[in-house]
């Protein structure tokens, strides 16, 4: 591991300047992802910025406008918080992250800004496109876990469980940088590799996520998160889906659907949403809606199954949402 400077900023406001001035800075909160990247040598920062002591990043508050959660809030604390229970799908998504140990250490901000799990990205042995190389090894390599849509030119999937649910709940993400605060819709926070193959989100070098806002309207929605993992004991999603909707009798309205595990960003399934808006979620209709969504999917050699899985999981998620 390369020697680095360990900085304890005095407040949130001072962080952007540290980030802007360092040659290579790394934000350090729970450390569950950052440490692993440093050990592997795929991140070799000069400055490690410790966010753990910034207690004003670790809050969970609820009022009539909605739910506000600091980026430094621990996932375990979110699960235990009464305020968060108003959005059951959100709590489900947080609960499905990693393992108990990881949720005790990991933070909300860290989960939303974690780097991809792609093994070509994670191994220092591969000089892959995302790390500045000129090849995405997944295209002709072992690509069972890679994306089926939105891939070109890098075929990662975005691994966060919480991200798809934030999109489904129309959440917003607050970002602080040298120029001050800005609020971004969760739907606009993550980017595809075609836009930027080196980053997974819109954060500039001087910026950090400070809080997440879930509007009060989310409380009126039914929400549900279904995560499928190959190994229950500990795994990232092979495919996951977050659904949120109002139930008008048997009809779904205000439908929002976002997938994990299918694309380089949490994938909002706009076509499926449209197909299901105002409809009764019969099995045939849901499968047809999912088929429309993934009609343009371009599975790689080893991940055609993800198309089937994505359809089946939407079916399962809506079946359970309606039944709940």
């Amino acid at each position: 591991m390369k020697p680095f400077e360990y900085v304890n900023p005095k407040d949130i406001k001072s962080v952007p300047k540290i980030l802007a001035e360092a040659e290579r800075a790394l934000l350090f909160a729970g450390g569950t992802d950052a440490l692993a990247r440093m050990k592997e040598g795929i991140d070799r920062p000069d400055v490690v910025v410790n966010l753990k002591k910034l207690t004003d990043l670790a809050f969970i508050k609820s009022d009539r406008k909605g739910l506000r959660i600091g980026a430094g809030a621990l996932l375990a604390d979110i699960i235990a918080s009464k305020d968060a229970q108003a959005c059951p799908g959100f709590v489900e998504a947080v609960k499905s992250v990693g393992t108990i140990q990881l949720r005790n250490m990991g933070t909300l901000g860290g989960n939303l800004c974690q780097r991809p799990r792609c093994w070509y990205y994670r191994s220092a042995r591969f000089d892959c496109l995302r790390k500045g190389g000129d090849t995405c090894f997944a295209i002709y390599g072992d690509n069972k876990y890679h994306c089926i849509i939105g891939g070109d030119p890098c075929y990662i999937v975005y691994p966060s469980d919480i991200a798809p649910m934030l999109i489904a709940l129309r959440a917003e993400i607050e970002v602080v940088g040298l120029k001050g605060k800005r609020r971004v819709k969760a739907d606009d926070f993550w980017v595809l590799p075609a836009q930027d193959p080196y980053k997974e989100n819109i954060l500039q070098n001087d910026e950090l996520v400070t809080q997440v806002f879930i509007p009060a309207s989310a409380r009126a929605l039914k929400s549900h998160y279904v995560k499928f993992r190959e190994r229950d004991s500990f795994d990232f999603a092979m495919v996951s889906v977050a659904v949120a909707a109002r139930l008008d009798g048997e009809r779904l309205t205000d439908v929002r659907i976002a997938y994990g595990g299918v694309a380089p960003k949490p994938w909002r399934a706009v076509k499926a949403e449209r197909a299901l808006e105002g409809q009764v979620a019969t099995e045939e209709r849901v499968l047809a809606a999912a088929a429309t969504e993934f009609a343009n999917a371009e599975p790689l050699e080893q991940n055609e199954y993800k198309v089937i899985l994505a359809k089946n999981l939407l079916k399962r998620a809506l079946r359970e949402l309606v039944a709940a």
Binding site: Y140, Y305, L309
Partner: protein, 701 residues
Amino acid sequence: MAPWKKLDEMSLVHKEVTRIDGALKVTGAAQYTYDIQRPGMLYGRILRSVHPHARVLSVDTSKAEALSGVRAVLGAIKDEVNFVGDDVAAVAAVSEEIAQEALRLIEVQYEVLPFTVRESEAKKEGAPQVFSGRPNNIGNHDERSEGEVEKGFAEADVIIEHTYHLNVQLHTPLEPHGCVCEWRGEDLYMWDSTQGVHSTRGGVARALEMPENQVHVITHHMGGGFGSKLSPKSYNIICARLAKKAGAPVKLMLDREEEMLAVGNRPSSWQKIKMGAKKDGTLTAFQMESFGTAGIGGGAGVPQPYIYNFPNWKVSHDDVHINAGAAAPMRAPGHPQANFAMESAMDELADKLGIDPLEFRLKNDANSTRQQEYKIGAEKFGWGNRKQSGSGTGLKVTGLGVGSGRWGGGGNNRTEAIVNIYPDGAVDVKIGTQDIGVGTWTIVAAVLAEELELELVDVKPMIGESDFPWAPASGGSTTAPSVTPTVKLAAEAAKKKLLEVVAEEYGVKPEEIRYGKKKFTIPGQGEIGWKTACAALNGKAISEKVQWAEGLSSSGTAGCQFAEVEVDTETGRVQVKRMVAVQDCGLVVNLLTARSQVNGGMIGEIGYSLFENRLLDHDTGIMPNADLENYKIPGALEMPDFDVTFYDEHERGVIGLGEPPAIPGVGAIANAVANAIGARIYELPITPDKVLMALAGRKEG
């Protein structure tokens, strides 16, 4: 030599005895190799090849040597590297981080050579050669046959033909390979995570060209090996050389990636099988062409035809080299591979014949023990509830399957032990075996205490050091049948000596003294206790060294396992719900740790059949999943209910149990999946992607 006591006369053997080192382990007091700290100790790291095949032209270590904190560097360990992860150079430094950073400063010039990492491509004409002079990369070639296979197929009413494929599995011990080396004068002390303190002593002495009595190998506690740690590897030698060069002790523990690349694996296997039977279910013929890869090593053969009676059979096998780390024996080498293919084929044939798979096995399995085991297992498992394959409907479908195994597991006749009885009544045994996590500490103590009619706390087992009498490496299920008879015999000899001394002291004949439960009854003189009796030794301990003898152990086991799986048809996920194992291993020495051993075997089978798969990137030869996130071993949530029955053959004496339970379940699980979904998956592991595609294929017909 006295036989083992009757079962109802024993108090420590054939009982559930908790591990005597259990408290040490759960409190962290047990010192594994990783825990060894020596004064002034340095940390070693190995620079590993980034290329699957290359000539090493030069290794410049000057920058690494100049780094502050670096104490020793070894450059150019090999002239040619044969896989990604092969040894190139090594460093010892005052911290692991500095050692790691020093590796980055070593400049290596390679001449990159052509390579191959797919065994199916490697055996083709014109493929890059892993070793020169071995065209098509064929290592060992093997052909065997019995009867006339063509005649056998002519007699068959039904024939099936398929290729069964198993990928490379890794040993994945929780404690990786590694050692601490300390030179004391000319003598080398090596704390090593090894399955063989004696095999390591010999191997290290040979490699370093030094007398064997100057090498002392110590393994008091170790975190598993599964066959990968039977003999010393290059890291042992590198660590010893670094320690010598630096003039300080060096700890060199492999990290998880190194563990997965460089120190062993279970070979892959592709078995093209043709198998025939008559209408009445009598097997007539078996034919197999197989190949597999053990990387740059050998040993990918499979013991086909496995278990069942074929009057006519013919097999041929090729070991195919690829540019990957050498295989090492892994829990029942070749057997689970043979089991998966054979049990799958048996079920397919049974389906075609319209015969119940268990009945089909009963008809074609000549082993009388297994005949009984099948019946016991079927009863406990509820085999009668098995439905026709693919008949389940709904989101979740269940299936049942069965599979069988066999193994040797006899004792090594060169094993020796010393039992000492001291004048103050203390008792110990010295035997150069090692506890690789299975409970050897406990059975050594239990057998000694049982024979001397003492309690466990009265005896001190001393194992895990190469300076103790010779015992074999813990492999091939040989430890219990080697160690327990020898300890018993040594204890018996020491007891005899003690009786002689006591008899002389009290002026009676040894055979007139009655001994039981720490009490000596001496005619006309009443009872004396153990300590009083031992005081007669008058300052000199009894020390009896004894060699293993025939009569207290056997070889040859039979076993079968049943599995019930539930398949989620929306996700393709297979969950094993229940497993029932029926296993013989002669006299079960410790009923508790033996059950753990069988449970562990079944856990390994679940990993092999459903999760584990060593991948090698085709274009670079790099293993992309060389970590425990992506090389998936099952965890707590993947565990089914385990039900273990030991088939009682105690009269045969002690037989090893390491390998037997790691075989039958692989085929049982695969068969249960096929029974559940009505489609067979011919390649392990059976992962959700394969199940979903198989289900989709079935729907389309």
